[in-house]
């Protein structure tokens, strides 16, 4: 379970943000470097604007496809409320990367519930780890020309935090395998931008 190179990556967000694609790419790249990989996503009804989670487990040998609570090494959150919802999966000292985006559920607009403050969300993570990063992924993806590159931007940011030996070429190959050639260059730029944004972080 705690074997060499074990990485449990939980990606969370809202349906339509490209989370499952991002975790598919990382899964394939991890497979390419010879690791055992298991991943499991929420599908079906939850796709209709509901919360989406993708469990990705990388290791020498992986049994359960589900990450255990308090054992995720990295939590990659595409939306702030969803970050807060899955805080209990992060292991003490793990890394959490949160896209600074609020997609309020309808209950907020109808006035029956309140969206949590940034401080409350970050506070809940600080009890678990010092490595909590709030990043402007949506803004930066939009600046690249298409906000839908957010998933690849997030993947680029995440790539700096993975203690796995993955070459640039392997990343490029993984991305190319999952995206149509028409939007490949744009997404490669998004990956580099994400990677660049994490360059200054003292990991």
């Amino acid at each position: 379970m705690k074997s060499q190179g074990k990485q449990d990556v939980l990606m969370v967000g809202v349906g339509g943000q490209g989370i499952i694609l991002a975790s598919d790419i990382l899964g394939d790249v991890a497979l390419d470097i010879g690791m055992d990989v298991k991943k499991t996503d929420t599908l079906g009804m939850a796709q209709r604007g509901g919360s989406v989670t993708s469990h990705l487990r990388i290791g020498q040998k992986v049994w359960s496809p589900l990450i255990n609570t308090s054992e995720a090494d990295i939590l990659l959150a595409f939306e702030k409320l969803e970050a807060a919802r899955w805080v209990h999966y992060l292991r003490p000292g793990g890394t959490v990367i949160i896209n600074n985006l609020a997609i309020p559920p309808l209950s907020i607009s109808l006035g029956t519930q309140v969206y949590p403050e940034d401080e409350a969300i970050l506070g809940s993570f600080r009890r678990v780890t010092k490595a909590a990063y709030l990043i402007n992924g949506t803004q930066q993806a939009a600046a690249l020309g298409d906000v839908r590159t957010l998933n690849i931007f997030m993947l680029g940011y995440l790539s700096r935090f993975l203690p796995l030996k993955i070459t640039d070429e392997q990343w490029q190959k993984g991305i190319a395998r999952h995206l149509p050639s028409k939007i490949l260059d744009l997404n490669k730029r998004a990956f580099e931008a994400g990677r660049g944004a994490a360059a200054g972080v003292n990991i």
């Binding site: 990989v37 991943k39 996503d41 079906g44 255990n68 807060a84 309020p104 809940s124």
Partner: protein
């Protein structure tokens, strides 16, 4: 030989395994978590794959193909097997010619279903063998074994998966050049085997029992069942994904891992039990293995410690092991940070969904908005009862629409509406059903309503696709599972042909027409049908002229929020439309219902 290492979902692995086993006919009706099996089969062009009208037909087509000597795969979700139970039991009785494997995809935890059921019981009911893989590699490998067993023992084989196996990806090693055995296709006439007259069926039943005896002998020696030697203090009996959780929870224990889970091997289980001090069974849902093992007179613990419903996970297995005194409490103790009381994010109808307008209209009829509380409950009957069905549109149950009062199973909306009216409720009753569901099981309901003169209103939401499961084609879509153009089955003609006199067809995005059609249908003294037709928002990529709110004209009345559109949001007390989500001209419902005409396109209020 080209060995390939791939990351495949369980469903992808099943399809590839079936293809490599020489399957030439595949049938299914879409249903989470089984849908991708047929989608992947359909991609192989040297076999025949179809979306059948429903699971019963899928099973019957599959049985016919098997009688022709061809290896056949029939796949469905757990509740699909309820629909297909009649031909399944017939198949169990007649046996097969070409191998027949029936995939039942169970949904522990009810991710996307109307209920939780353990279809392992169908193996016992049908006196057929059942195979259960634990990951994608097994899903691939076990397919070949399933076809061999089916043909050798003259029986359909149930292949049971769960959501977590169907939808998890894991590494599969396959030989892509595997020789695909081509079987000769012929039907041999054999009335005692295929014509189930009572006299013939009486001959088949003893065969079913003797086949189970032979299969029990097989279970004792098959490589599908394996013992993993470990610590002799604890012996774990498990199968499916439960085995994966158990391996992680008890890294050192001894395991009896079952792949052929029915019939069970009594000698093998006894031998395993004799090796260990304590026998513990890890299985999701019912104590199926446990009760069968107890019936052999073997002492085993399980469900007294492990939940009988929902999905398991490693943590739940560890927790149960502490209760069973298999592991000390400290090993299972993990500090879990509380997430607090956060706003939920239930799935909703999409922005631009063609069902929204009809449900908004329904939500305003019969004082439903006043009578129902926030959770959709009321002791008092409102003026309109809405029976619902299975599909995206079931989401209209949630606030703010709260426009559905029942949902049971595929096609039930119409029958339930007839029952409510015949029982004598005072309210008007409308049944709401989607086009694919109507084809699946709604037609017999309509015929019943005509035949028995039921004064109900049936609203058929026709978006031309099976949307919830991911836009599969169906008889009304004009395209087959393998992309071939076919004759569209016309819902209008079916309804008219059944004898419905009061029939209207309206555009789902023309709210005035939808409202007047539904109101006149409900006011009618005869059986009425309204077909509300519009394109599914998910398949529509055209999003011109996004709507916006003129903040000067808007008085915050909140009516637009009542349609439950994901694009309409409220910030700092003001309503606004999220441009990234709005479907623009493809929808425009909010603009049509705004009392202040404050919603329009850029630069133009309505």
């Amino acid at each position: 030989m080209s060995k390939s290492r791939k990351l495949l979902s369980g469903n992808e692995a099943i399809a590839l395994g079936a293809y490599h086993a020489g399957v030439r006919v595949a049938t299914a009706y879409p249903g989470t978590p089984s849908t991708e099996i047929l989608e992947n089969m359909a991609a192989f062009k040297d076999l025949y794959a179809e979306w059948s009208t429903n699971e019963k037909v899928a099973m019957e087509v599959g049985l016919g193909a098997s009688y022709a000597g061809v290896r056949t795969l029939v796949s469905m979700k757990h509740v699909g097997l309820n629909v297909a139970a009649d031909p399944f039991m017939a198949a169990a009785t007649t046996g097969v010619h070409g191998g027949l494997v029936v995939v039942s995809a169970d949904d522990p935890g009810i991710h996307s279903s109307q209920g939780e059921q353990d279809n392992r019981h169908f193996a016992r009911l049908g006196r057929v063998p059942m195979i259960e893989p634990a990951d994608s590699q097994e899903a691939y490998d076990f397919m070949a074994a399933a076809y061999q067993i089916s043909e050798k023992y003259d029986t359909p084989v149930l292949f049971r998966i769960t959501t977590r196996v169907a939808h998890s990806k894991s590494v599969v090693e396959v030989d892509m050049d595997v020789l695909r055995a081509e079987r000769s296709k012929f039907f041999h006439h054999h009335v005692e085997k295929y014509v189930m007259l009572p006299g013939h069926a009486r001959l088949r039943v003893p065969h079913m029992h003797s086949r189970m005896e032979e299969l029990t002998a097989l279970a004792e020696k098959t490589p599908l069942n394996i013992i993993i030697e470990g610590d002799s203090r604890t012996g774990i009996v498990s199968s499916g994904v439960g085995y994966e959780y158990a391996r992680e929870a008890f890294p050192g224990a001894s395991f009896l891992k079952l792949g052929l889970i029915y019939p069970l091997p009594p000698k093998l289980i006894k031998r395993f039990a004799d090796k260990v001090n304590k026998l513990f069974v890890v299985e999701e849902l019912d104590p199926f293995l446990e009760e069968n093992i107890k019936a052999m007179g073997i002492k085993i613990e399980g469900k007294q410690h492990i939940p009988r419903h929902g999905e398991l996970n490693t943590g739940a297995v560890r927790h149960a092991a502490v209760k069973a005194e298999i592991i000390p409490p400290a090993d299972a103790a993990v500090e879990v940070v509380a997430t607090g009381n956060l706003p939920g994010r239930p799935p909703l109808l999409c922005a631009g969904c063609p069902h929204t307008g009809a449900f908004f209209v329904l939500s305003t009829i019969g004082k439903r908005g006043k009578v129902l509380d926030a959770r959709g409950r009321s002791e008092k009957e409102s003026g309109l009862i809405i029976t619902g069905d299975i599909g995206c549109y079931t989401l209209a149950t949630y606030p703010p629409l709260r426009a559905m009062d029942t949902t049971a199973c595929m096609g039930a909306s119409i029958g339930q509406a007839i029952g409510l009216v015949k029982a004598g409720v005072r309210s008007k009753v409308a049944a709401v059903i989607g086009d694919s569901t109507f084809m699946h099981s709604g037609i017999t309901g309509i015929i019943d309503a005509v035949y028995n003169d039921a004064k109900i209103t049936v609203i058929i939401l026709d978006n031309g696709t099976t949307a919830m499961t991911g836009h599969q084609d169906h008889p009304g879509s004009g395209k087959s599972a393998q992309g071939v153009s076919t004759q569209k089955v016309d819902i209008v003609k079916i309804v008219e042909g059944a004898g419905v006199k009061n029939l209207q067809v309206v555009d789902s995005f023309d709210i005035k027409s939808v409202r007047s059609a539904i109101r006149s249908a409900l006011d009618s003294e005869q059986l009425s049908v309204v077909i509300v037709r519009g394109r599914c928002a998910v398949t529509n990529k055209v999003r011109k002229n996004k709507r916006r709110v003129d903040q000067d004209a808007c008085n915050d009345c909140g009516v637009c929020l009542m349609i439950g559109c994901q694009a309409i949001q409220k910030k700092d007390g003001r309503v606004y439309i999220e441009a990234g989500t709005c479907m623009g001209d493809a929808c425009g419902i909010c603009q049509q219902i705004c009392p202040k005409k404050a919603i329009g396109t850029e630069g133009k209020a309505a």
